[in-house]
Symmetry: C2
Subunit: 369 residues, 2 copies
């Protein structure tokens, strides 16, 4: 197995490089003083430093469950398994479904695809359209596999948001074949206008819903979770405790303390949403000005902007090598396809760069064409 292109790039580039490549949240927006304050309140207590149970500490699971319940998705702490980032959640599921066939979107999240390969899941790609997967293709693929991995909100890499109709259609197909949906939703809270209901909400016993604090709060706590029915959580727990016994206890206690004041988190979410929206609109505008030959949809949330050159002969994988020399980098979209077919598409991250860097970076790319 090869390493992820993105991880390799993140290590190879220097501080002068303008990076549209990673999925790094904006460091300026981290609520460092609130997190420090929460830390101060818990770090005297010896129990915070001891082994914890593998499911995750009760206080944190309760708070996550409460957030779902308040949105109309009835959830208790028994439905939640804390994981070491959402990445581990995906790994646990890949291990659980080892050797199975799975339907995924194409393009899809690189980290998930690598894990599926590592655990020998055979992927079948279904074309992603502007409002979600092509439903006919999806049903054809799903009926033979009964297992799918989808990212309905502000998808990584494509920034696609599923329409209500497509959410309902996917839901009906999962029910019809009594299959399983893995719904990955690290970006759901990062909407610019409105939040859509989770697909899992209508099929709570046929779904695993993944969440994370990495994109909404800070990544280094390494806290994500899986929401599923209690029996499924018990099965996953066996794998979780084999992999790392439990996720970082200190992170869990800091988070639980921070979340006690729910308004604080809500205010913080609003700050990121406003900031990311402004950045997304600016990025989109600059693209239209500087690279009008690059066609894209303006994102409705999340961290990415996706599109392709009108001239389909442009190979963005070849182009990025040139861009690297000029100190600008993005992720060429061939990485997000099962067979890594060359194409003219690009995923841009817009959250990690300043307005000035966005303009400069796009001009540098233009100069490489």
């Amino acid at each position: 197995m090869k390493r992820s292109f993105i991880r390799e790039i993140l290590e190879a580039i220097d501080e002068e490089t303008i990076s549209f490549a990673g999925g790094l949240p904006s460091q300026n927006l981290f609520p460092t003083s609130d997190l420090k304050e929460a830390s101060l309140k818990i770090l005297d207590n010896p129990k915070v430093y001891q082994y914890t149970i593998s499911n995750g500490i009760e206080e944190l699971r309760e708070q996550i469950a409460l957030r779902y319940t308040n949105e109309g998705f009835a959830t208790t702490k028994e439905n939640i398994l804390i994981t070491t980032g959402s990445q581990q959640a995906m790994y646990i599921l890949a291990k659980f479904f080892e050797n199975k066939d799975i339907t995924i979107e194409e393009p899809s999240y690189l980290g998930a695809m690598n894990i599926f390969r590592l655990n020998n899941l055979k992927m079948d790609g279904v074309k992603l359209e502007d409002d979600g997967v092509n439903i006919e293709e999806f049903e054809n693929s799903f009926k033979n596999r009964k297992l799918t991995y989808l990212i309905p909100d502000f998808q990584n890499p494509s920034a696609t948001t599923y329409s209500s109709e497509k959410r309902e259609a996917v839901c009906n197909i999962v029910k019809k074949y009594d299959g399983i949906l893995i719904e990955d939703s690290p970006y759901s809270e990062l909407f610019f206008e409105k939040k859509m209901p989770y697909i899992s909400q209508a099929i709570p016993n046929n779904s695993f819903l993944l969440g994370s604090f990495s994109k909404t709060l800070v990544p280094s706590l390494r806290i994500g979770w899986i929401r599923a029915d209690e029996e499924k959580i018990k099965s996953l727990l066996i794998i979780k405790e084999s992999i790392d016994l439990h996720s970082c206890g200190i992170s869990q206690y800091i988070l639980a303390e921070y979340l006690k004041d729910n308004d604080k988190y809500e205010r913080h979410l609003q700050v990121i949403r406003d900031d990311y929206k402004e950045k997304a609109l600016y990025f989109s505008k600059q693209l239209n000005l500087i690279l009008p030959e690059f066609k894209h949809q303006t994102p409705k949330g999340g961290m990415f902007l996706y599109g392709g050159f009108e001239d389909k002969k442009i190979d963005t994988f070849a182009l990025v090598q040139e861009c690297l020399k000029k100190k600008v980098v993005y992720v060429p979209a061939n990485q997000f396809y099962i067979d890594k077919v060359p194409n003219s598409e690009i995923r841009f991250n817009y959250t990690h760069s300043s307005f000035k860097q966005i303009e400069e970076g796009l001009k540098l790319i233009k100069s490489c064409l």
Copy 2:
């Protein structure tokens, strides 16, 4: 796969139960104020909250490497991969050696055995004697497998410490067949009298050496590591970054800050060594007084005391069910054998109980016989 008996017990028992079961370090000895002080120094810095590289932060890898180098085992940061506890280190290796045959000690560490099963490694058990594995049996097993997992210092569960002769013999066999040793050493720093050299030290290119801060400092940081040659570390890194991208960043920065003052950590280690030694000797003495029919070796370090009843017909798995009713618990040793054969052996943890609880607990066990 079933859940670990120990994890199930830890969840099932209540606060009144005297537990000799877990591997919990003594909470009273956690250097909470020093860890809080280190935290305060780093928690204002936004970079501490961002994604880090998968290998682990440079400062921490350097400090771990330096400790080995100071002991005469030349090591650089490139030889170190930070993991989410030593448990994840083992998982990564089990994934790396998926489907292979492996020689292990019998009895052996339950967490490792579960991971090997989960990743389809076929285990062959070699009898553990008072000074390490039976060398003839070991060579017979190893020559066909070329892969072994050993815990030479204060083994879990048996508390066995390998003699210099057996360390050398194992080392020669690994070299002779150009095989691989996985040397697990979470307890090496918890010696009562002296530290023995790692077996890996003599075969640095044929070994993976595992370390952890969970037993020597605090478990909830979830920081362990693998020491190996640079090429091996690169191979493992691909698996590591698939599982959780990286270990908790905040934990890593707290640790790196705490370890800057090396004397502080050394003083802390001396405190635990002295305390654990006193507890071990007391536990051993009380066993001789209260349960003279239970034969055991006094441990030379670590956290466990191991032995068996003279009356081999006593099934300690059946006995523990009775003990649970009387609110005392230990781990019956059948758990530590590949085929879970019934036997009269027990693993006691002595670090988590008070002197009073040790005496009371042993009397309760006596009353169940």
